[in-house]
Chain length 338, copies 2
């Protein structure tokens, strides 16, 4: 692939090059890129709005993160926030701060991933801002989605006795990150970073190309189920569960032995001498959905593919607790960056 210096195109040339083949597909997208603002029509619908900032060195390491994957992930993690409101993502704006070492082709690669994610999830790119950066790559995406009035699901609706459910499995993205970081150290200094990841593909995919759980919402919708509360797992199960408890003013009981963990995650945690439950509780970047449902849906949800009941909602006075494998109760604690 060629390496065209960005200065050859200039700001406007670069924007044109990156966005020239972007087409709008949603009825609500009236006008996209090319004016001061995008124009959208959301008559009769709720507008959902979310934003995420990704900074090089903090959220991603380009040593092992291919730019196409990064573009894909940057889009998907925003879609995940809209799904977590029981909505459908429809438009995004994309702002990039770019340092000198990036070529036009690098950015095209990033946009390729971005566009692929948008195509798969049915989202339009409607605007953005592109700027030079003195240091690393800076990515800011804002996503607008639509919600059906009365069906938007918040963090705050969980009720005492509700079932606590989670989609997919947890901890794999974090183990994928550990694996990549380890190999990076091993390969330090060697020009071609190409380690053997056979048998660990799932962990890498969860880290490098996560998916948002649109499918789970479709399944729930087919069954006529609207969760009482919902959140997506970006910071780790423990942290998100505490958000739901805090916003809903409830407590919860989470069973350690019910937390869904993939075989590769467990094997890798053992290799790294980590407690796999801690990984699942605090690892983050899973982008699975954590939600609550009325107790009477127990049978229906137990038979639903890709969903696991991991505990119960209880009264606020009981607090948020983990029931460990040995039956002891441990107070849940959150982790964020400091």
């Amino acid at each position: 692939m060629g390496k065209t210096e960005i200065s050859l195109l200039g700001e406007f040339g670069l924007i044109r090059r990156l966005t020239e083949n972007i087409r709008l597909s949603n009825q609500s997208s009236i006008v996209g890129i090319g004016d001061d603002a995008a124009v959208l029509d959301y008559s009769g619908r709720e507008v959902l709005m979310t934003t995420d900032l990704l900074l090089e060195g903090i959220h991603f390491d380009l040593t092992y993160f291919p730019l196409k994957h990064l573009g894909y992930k940057a889009a998907v993690i925003n879609f995940s926030d809209i799904y977590a409101m029981n909505g459908q993502p429809k438009q995004i704006t994309v702002s990039l701060g770019i340092s000198k070492r990036f070529s036009v082709e690098d950015l095209e690669e990033f946009y390729e991933g971005l566009k692929l994610a948008c195509e798969i999830y049915g989202v339009d790119i409607v605007g953005g801002d592109t700027s030079s950066s003195l240091t690393g790559l800076c990515i800011s995406i804002t996503c607008i989605g639509e919600g059906e009035k009365g069906k938007t699901v918040y963090r705050k609706g969980a009720k005492n006795t509700d079932l606590l459910c989670v989609s997919g499995d947890l901890g794999a993205a974090y183990m994928g990150l550990q694996l990549l970081e380890r190999e990076k150290t091993v390969f330090k200094g060697e020009p071609d970073f190409n380690p053997d990841f056979a048998g660990k593909e799932y962990l890498l995919e969860r880290q490098l190309k996560p998916e948002a759980r649109k499918d789970i919402l479709e399944t729930l919708s087919r069954e006529g189920i609207v969760p009482t509360s919902m959140i997506d797992i970006s910071d780790g199960l423990a942290s998100e569960l505490l958000h739901i408890c805090h916003e809903s003013k409830v407590g919860c009981l989470l069973y350690e032995d019910r937390i869904p963990i993939d075989y590769q995650t467990a094997v890798m945690a053992e290799q790294f001498n980590m407690n796999v439950s801690t990984v699942a509780l605090n690892g983050g970047e899973d982008y699975e959905l954590l939600f609550t449902l009325p107790l009477e849906l127990h049978e229906k949800i137990e038979n639903m593919e890709g969903v696991h009941v991991i505990g119960y909602v209880c009264d606020e006075s009981m607090g948020a607790n983990l029931i460990a494998r040995d039956g002891t109760e441990i107070k849940l604690q959150a982790q964020g960056w400091t």
Copy 2:
């Protein structure tokens, strides 16, 4: 003022601290900060969406840019984009990447400016993302505004023979920047950066605390005038005018002697040995409105306070040209970053 290390509060504590007294005031703001996405209601209205990325060292220098002013400006430049569509800004999300050298109080100062701008322009802060940054401060704001259906004004509506109008005066923000940069060099190494700016207040204000021209839209609206095309001047008059010509498929004649320039701007340009017209054409950051109107509104607009007719729209084949003071015709050229 105290200096609280951000690590003392942690991510969630910091977000809570910065956002705890944010109230929603717009009817369209259903739910703001605190869930995966904000929820808005735009029934019967068009949704306008715009975004801006500001990076330390590229867009601002904290040596002379007070954080409160920076917060104010970061918000206002987004509002300006919504006004340039003939819309009203209503909600923003604010993402910040923060390096270790910032204290909680620093960020509170930034938010103070942000909130002041939002209060003055009637905008709600409905979400955002806060992250640590390895390097400088990174600010990404996305603004949502409402447009009346059929009254949204694009860059593309200018017609042959239309009047070319601009609000306020141009070049002052750029001269303010030059002044600040010069004083910074002079004061290099001295701990207290406090130069005497007497008589140059207007230039500094235009750079450090710009306003968006909501008032011009109100005046136009009172007169029942809807521009045929409009854009806000962030990159400089020449660049924005070329955008209008390109999008509208027209040419234009811009008269150098009609370009509105403040006395302080002219004096400072002379001191810096700069051509004041070049400053007004390419300086940028004026956040004035550039718009076109049908020729028959000539008398009405000539008497409107704060608006200047600076030229005419002509056929595309004639190109976009500046008529210099001596009558010579010069082809207009854009400048962006490279």
